[in-house]
């Protein structure tokens, strides 16, 4: 869907992005992660031509982005940024309807779409439609920003640290919502962040950048287990590397079928992560957990030995 082929960006003598190649498949959520100034935002902004690349080629759906008119290229892609960039003189509803109006949708269709999106992002129409951006909390404003990015139902969504300025609680709930949204909408998303936990939580495809180059890319677990160089290892590793991995693995992967033993008192959902399971064990002083499905019916059990990955149980 999106292909970057040997792309380089120079600002004068400085090289911001140095010969990177990257492919994002349709429906994939690709996260660019790295320290500030590593070229991740520049890379993102080259995709919608807010910055023109100096060398190499960028393709959307097999077509060079330079073949499109800038404005029509951008209207095909949603764009959400950290500071939201909502227009302060427009109401929430009008902000969300921006791109559909630019695409000259009939007014009734725009209105219907705005309603649909506000419902999708949990913003009540009566409460928020006529509010102005300065009347919103950070989380609400960012929801509106995401709604606006999704407004014309673009196949591609570009997100530049959209949750960076939010408090940790709001950030986590928006990450959760984004994942859920993504499982329903199957957009192709390029997401930039410097927060490694956020990157691991969201990414299908993780790209670690450093000083304008791609250090390593692949599935989050691959990078976590087999970092190819010291920088990636230092970024991903540290003391809680094991916890980071556990956060990526679901309980269902390590649980055993129900045995003859009595059910353990503490329960955990099979979709929960091993990290959550471990936390529960620590908190409840429990060595065994009963794993339940979505309807709260027991489907297996998880012991501490299994959780930490000891092969043979007992």
């Amino acid at each position: 869907m999106i292909d970057l082929i040997h792309v380089t960006k120079r600002f004068g003598a400085a090289t911001a992005v140095d010969d990177i190649s990257l492919s994002v498949a349709r429906g994939e959520l690709c996260v660019l992660v790295g320290t500030s100034g590593c070229g991740k935002s520049t890379t993102l902004r080259m995709i919608n031509r807010l910055i023109e690349h100096s060398e190499g080629e960028i393709h959307i759906d097999g077509q060079q982005i330079r073949d499109f008119r800038e404005e029509s290229l951008r209207r095909r892609m949603g764009y959400a940024i950290q500071s939201t960039g909502l227009f302060p003189h427009w109401t929430v509803a009008r902000n969300i309807g921006l791109v559909p109006r630019l695409l000259k949708w009939p007014a009734a269709k725009v209105r219907a779409r705005v309603e649909e999106l506000m419902a999708l992002l949990g913003l009540s129409m009566e409460e928020f439609a006529d509010k102005y951006p300065h009347q919103l909390s950070g989380g609400q404003a960012q929801r509106v920003g995401v709604a606006r990015a999704l407004a014309a139902d673009p196949e591609i969504l570009l997100m530049d640290e959209p949750f960076g300025a939010l408090d940790p609680l709001t950030r986590e709930s928006l990450q959760e919502e984004l994942r859920e949204l993504q499982s329903r909408l199957q957009k192709t998303i390029v997401f930039v962040t410097h927060d490694m936990d956020e990157a691991l939580r969201l990414a299908d495809h993780l790209v670690v950048m450093h000083q304008g180059r791609i250090k390593q890319q692949g599935r989050p677990l691959e990078l976590l287990r087999e970092p190819t160089d010291a920088f990636v290892e230092s970024l991903l590793g540290g003391e809680d590397r094991g916890l980071k991995e556990a956060a990526l693995l679901p309980v269902s992967q390590r649980m055993l079928p129900l045995g003859p033993r009595l059910l353990a008192r503490e329960r955990i959902g099979q979709q929960a992560s091993l990290r959550e399971a471990l936390s529960l064990m620590l908190w409840r002083h429990a060595e065994r957990l009963t794993v339940v499905d979505d309807d709260d019916l027991p489907v297996g059990e998880l012991s501490l030995r299994r959780l930490v990955g000891v092969r043979s149980d007992d």
Partner: protein, 242 residues
């Protein structure tokens, strides 16, 4: 209803202005007190209504030109292509204001002759700075992320200017126009020295003939006009909330 209430104050000022213009003759007794020795105490070489009309049209013409040139220039130098001229334009506009209008008149009369043209030129130069400066401040003061988002959403530069930049800068631009016009209503009086007859006439004539009553009449009407126009500006509907 609220519309009416908003315009109440400017309306009061304008009625006061009109009453003073039409009924100046009724105040003869009052002016007699100021100027007991003169044969005539009410300025009668032209009626006040036509003086007011001419005053307004000179200020109006200068304001329209100043807005067109000032806002236009400020927009031009905030485009990527005109950025290089930004310091030059803001400097030129400041120079326009340091140049005394009387000096402009003295220089303009030999070129443009006597009459209304030189005073319009003088007012235009004098009124340009507040408009240029405020338009620049208004446009440059817009949160860069708003412009970035507008571009990222696929708005063209014309759309960004009309739908985002101008509406957001409008309150500041309007404040600049208000300052410019109010100052020029007062400054226009000096036009009377170069034969542009307006509300400055009674003042100049009063000074020349030593008739304080004339001076007071001209000054009174100019003051009322400035207050009326200023209060009208302050009641203009603001296109942006807060």
């Amino acid at each position: 209803m609220t519309e009416c209430r908003r315009l109440l104050v400017p309306l009061c000022w304008f009625s006061l202005l009109l009453a003073a213009t039409l009924g100046m003759g009724q105040l003869e007794g009052l002016f007699r007190v100021i100027e007991p020795d003169s044969r005539q105490v009410i300025y009668e070489r032209a009626d006040f209504l036509s003086l007011l009309g001419r005053h307004l049209s000179v200020v109006g013409a200068a304001a329209v030109l100043a807005i067109l040139i000032g806002v236009g220039a400020a927009i031009a130098v905030t485009r990527p292509r005109g950025r290089d001229f930004l310091p030059l334009v803001s400097q030129l506009a400041s120079m326009g204001q340091t140049f005394p209008p009387v000096a402009v008149l003295a220089l303009a009369v030999p070129v443009l002759g006597f009459g209304t043209l030189p005073i319009i030129v003088a007012l235009l130069l004098y009124g340009l700075l507040p408009i240029v400066r405020n338009t620049l401040v208004g446009i440059l003061g817009i949160d860069p992320s708003v412009r970035e988002a507008a571009r990222g959403m696929g708005m063209g530069s014309g759309q960004i200017l009309r739908q985002v930049e101008l509406p957001l800068a409008a309150p500041v631009i309007l404040a600049g126009i208000r300052t410019s016009v109010t100052i020029n209503i007062a400054t226009a009086a000096i036009g009377a020295t170069v034969g542009a007859s307006n509300l400055g006439d009674p003042i100049i004539s009063g000074i020349v003939n030593g008739n304080t009553a004339y001076v007071v009449q001209g000054a009174l009407l100019i003051g009322l006009l400035a207050l009326s126009v200023d209060s009208l500006f302050s009641r203009l509907p603001s296109p942006i909330v807060r």
